[in-house]
Amino acid sequence: MFAEELKAFRRLGVRGVLVQLLNFASVIASGLMMWKGLGLLTNTESPIVVVLSGSMEPAFYRGDLLFLTNPPNVPYQTGDITVYKVPGSPIPIVHRILETRGIVRNAPKSAIAQDVADGQKSAVLRAVEGQEVEQLLLTKGDNNPIDDVDLYNGLDWLERRHVVGKVRGFLPYIGYVTIAMNDHPNLKYLLLGVLGLFALIQRE
């Protein structure tokens, strides 16, 4: 079977082989770029994730596909379902926000407000002056009996920067393909190999 393919490749010549390889490589490249583009548009590093555990039942089951966004200046609210990653553990967790707190972090004061003393300014003016309000979050899975403080690896609150995104939509069952490929990596290589073979042999 391969002897014929090898002969076909030799007949193609260097340029022909490069063109066939380019077909394969450009499919992969366009897939990568679409993924990265989606990430940039939604402002999150993984815009599509798969639910691995049952801690959000009956809302999400294992194998559901979730679509995330992370709007940059919009504060999260109680009831939002977020996906977050605690520093120190690689697996993101999808749980609902139970409580939010805003704390004020000091930022350099603007020139306009410098001569007015701090105590005389209202909270609104302080926010306007450029001091950031940072959000702290507490989460809990719908199906879990207790909240997530134990999962935070020593922190008492989750910070905004740990959150990957907020769930906007979902598709049931589709994620099982990813779960299967992660549990059996040979499947992944087999799929890639077959796709690669098709792309190299086909000529359009």
Partner: protein, 230 residues
């Protein structure tokens, strides 16, 4: 080993005429007969129009780029390869960078990479659509006929889909330019096209009759080389 036979097509295309009137171009195309041992059997799926066209294009390219005939110019292929591989490398670099560096800090570089990739992809599409179009072969040859004459031939092909009365056909068109002194003085140009249904070249098993195809191509190329302007 090719047996060279004088062309039998048309009196004006006869090689001997050019000795008498040397402003008349030599339109004789060397008739090449390729012995059976050198041929590979070409067998394609009869029902797949893409395969049929690709098989015809391949034989066309292989035939016309024989050393006795033309030297193939690979500019279109090279541009397509350059743009394509550049976009693949940009995509790979951007993805690798985005993987290595944390998301927020990587954003400006990833945006830049995305934009470069999109520009390259659009450039590729525009080139293929506007410049390359249906061209399958561009060839050049230099002959010596009192001065160095450069001839350039461009072949484009497409498939004419079937209609209730006709089977699908292969439409081949040729554009021909001859010039002297390095392309500065134009001696003549010609354009010709012809169409044959795929039935003429492929039998019911999908085996291609290469000699018949090549002689049809020869006929078309000789027709386009006959100078109409002088």
């Amino acid at each position: 080993m090719a047996r060279i036979r004088k062309s039998e097509n048309g009196g004006a295309a006869d090689g001997t005429a050019s000795d008498v009137n040397d402003s008349k171009p030599a339109t004789r195309l060397v008739n090449v007969v390729i012995p059976a041992e050198e041929r590979d059997l070409v067998k394609v799926n009869n029902t797949n129009l893409v395969d049929l066209k690709n098989a015809c294009d391949d034989i066309l390219k292989r035939f016309l780029s024989r050393p006795e005939l033309f030297k193939q110019i690979h500019t279109h292929t090279d541009v397509r390869l350059a743009l394509g591989w550049a976009s693949v490398l940009v995509a790979a670099g951007t993805a690798y960078y985005g993987w290595k560096v944390e998301f927020e800090t990587s954003k400006p570089v990833v945006w830049a990479g995305m934009i470069v990739y999109v520009v390259l992809a659009i450039a590729q599409t525009l080139y293929a659509y506007f410049v390359e179009k249906d061209i399958v072969f561009v060839g050049k040859r230099k002959t010596f006929d009192k001065r160095i004459v450069t001839e350039r031939i461009t072949m484009s092909s497409n498939t004419v889909p079937s209609s209730p009365s006709n089977p699908p056909a292969y439409f081949l068109s040729a554009t021909y330019v001859r010039s002297a002194s390095g392309g500065k003085s134009l001696l003549g140009r010609g354009k010709a096209s012809d169409q044959r249904s795929y039935n003429a070249f492929f039998d019911e098993n999908g085996t291609m009759d290469q000699e018949r195809f090549e002689s049809w191509v020869t006929e078309l190329v000789e027709r386009v080389m006959q100078d109409k302007t002088q």
